[in-house]
């Protein structure tokens, strides 16, 4: 009975994380389209939500790799997963509060690593996996997207620089509808799978599924729905940062950033070198600005974003570890996760309430 209660809490928490992943990372997909007026905000977000939902069904090949590559699968219990998810959700909400685009995937990995360390010690961490699958890609992703978008926008200005601005802007706005759609689809394919993987791992750890089981259909549908609903709710604070605060973007820069982002994500998916969509698109936006001129990038804002990226793993790990320690105070039953869930829900409600009282940061256009 206690194990079933924990499983229900883990699944609900995983879907809550998926929802925050959707509204937090919406910025990656729609920010450039909105800021260049390629699409109305409500239209861009509705399309992104739909394509995120569709993307979640395209492939389940990486669904079970989230925790397997970074912590010893033998130490994974539903409570470890629960504490890791709380760490990830908390970091997503903190960075959302400060309007900073950070990687939800890194937050999830950090949270699970932190809770596993408190549960079983540092031996539980697979250092090679953390370096190879998380740290190196975290450096490569923004630099690669920066370079690709920077080179691309330089060539774009050479090709269309002497043409009528109206025709050029309209053309790139149409192009952004396609490049933004590709990004949304790629985001759904990558990120919804991570939640499917986490729920599947918890079900395996609970004995509800066999060791090599694929995610059940209800897991795929619920993860796809949660990320789509999160995307539809829109993360306006982060959309504003990515879309208008890093650079003042024209349509050609928006297309270059999205094109570079889609190319980098799809290439990395094809060659099995997973990269964070957040790092890729924000690196692309910075590159599209720097390709025009270096001073076009607001480096102070870019610096804040990079600090958030550096802090994501350790901060989520600290929160995940602390959450596990708190649940253990109440023993190994369901009491600890229930109490932590109630506290987390109350804290989240307070946070959203305070933000809503301060008004929307992005004017409707």
């Amino acid at each position: 009975m206690s194990a079933d209660v924990i499983m229900v809490i883990v699944v609900a928490t995983a879907l809550a994380f998926d929802f925050t992943n959707g509204f937090h990372d919406t910025a990656n997909v729609v920010a450039t389209s909105i800021s260049t007026r390629a699409a109305k905000p409500s239209t861009a977000i509705a399309i992104a939500a739909l394509l995120n939902f569709a993307g979640a069904f395209i492939s389940i090949s990486v669904a079970a790799t989230v925790a397997n590559d970074v912590v010893d699968a033998g130490v994974i219990t539903p409570t470890v997963v629960f504490a890791g998810l709380i760490g990830a959700i908390a970091w997503n909400l903190i960075t959302w509060w400060f309007a900073l685009p950070s990687s939800s995937s890194h937050a999830l990995i950090g949270g699970v690593v932190g809770s596993a360390v408190i549960a079983s010690g540092f031996d539980a961490v697979l250092a090679d996996g953390v370096i190879g699958k998380v740290l190196i890609p975290a450096i490569v992703a923004p630099l690669l997207a920066f370079a690709v978008a920077g080179i691309a926008i330089g060539l774009v200005y050479r090709i269309v620089g002497r043409q009528r601005p109206g025709t050029v802007t309209r053309g790139f706005r149409y192009g952004q509808l396609v490049s933004g759609g590709l990004l949304a689809l790629a985001h759904g394919t990558n990120d919804a799978q991570k939640t499917m993987g986490v729920i599947t791992l918890a079900l395996i750890a609970n004995g509800s599924l066999g060791a090599d089981a694929d995610p059940p259909f209800w897991v795929i549908v619920s993860a796809a729905t949660a990320i789509a609903l999160g995307t539809y709710s829109g993360g306006w604070r982060i959309i504003r940062t990515t879309g208008t605060r890093i650079i003042k973007m024209d349509a050609a820069q928006g297309f270059s950033a999205q094109g570079a982002g889609a190319a980098v994500i799809l290439s990395s998916t094809h060659f099995g070198f997973p990269l964070s969509t957040t790092h890729v698109i924000n690196g692309g936006v910075m590159g599209a600005g720097a390709g025009k001129r270096l001073s076009a990038v607001r480096w102070g804002v870019a610096g804040n974003i990079m600090v958030a990226w550096l802090l994501t793993l350790p901060a989520a790990a600290a929160i995940g570890g602390a959450t596990y320690a708190v649940t253990e105070i109440f023993g190994s039953g369901a009491v600890g996760p229930v109490i932590v869930s109630v506290i987390a829900l109350a804290a989240s409600a307070m946070l959203f309430n305070r933000r809503s009282q301060q008004g929307a940061p992005l004017p409707a256009s």
């Binding site: 090679d128 269309v160 053309g171 799809l266």
Partner: protein, 77 residues
């Protein structure tokens, strides 16, 4: 480090990203260049040059759509 990071996968990712990202943006720019020139040349009543510009633009658009189709195939695959 070579064991921790699959160097060949990393290099392939970098090469493919540069080729695809820069390539798609450039061919779409060519499509827009073709459209913009077509409008200008048509207004100047130079039909042959306008037709040539339109052909370049259509080729650029076709290359862009082809690249998007490849991207979708990669994603589904």
């Amino acid at each position: 480090m070579a064991v921790i990071v699959e160097t060949s996968e990393l290099l392939q990712t970098v090469a493919a990203s540069v080729v695809a990202g820069v390539g798609v943006t450039v061919v779409f720019s060519v499509a827009i260049w073709g459209a913009a020139r077509f409008v200008d040349l048509s207004r100047s009543e130079r039909p042959a040059a306008a037709a040539a510009a339109a052909a370049v633009g259509i080729a650029g658009l076709a290359a862009t759509l082809g690249a998007v189709a490849v991207g979708l195939v990669v994603m589904v695959g």
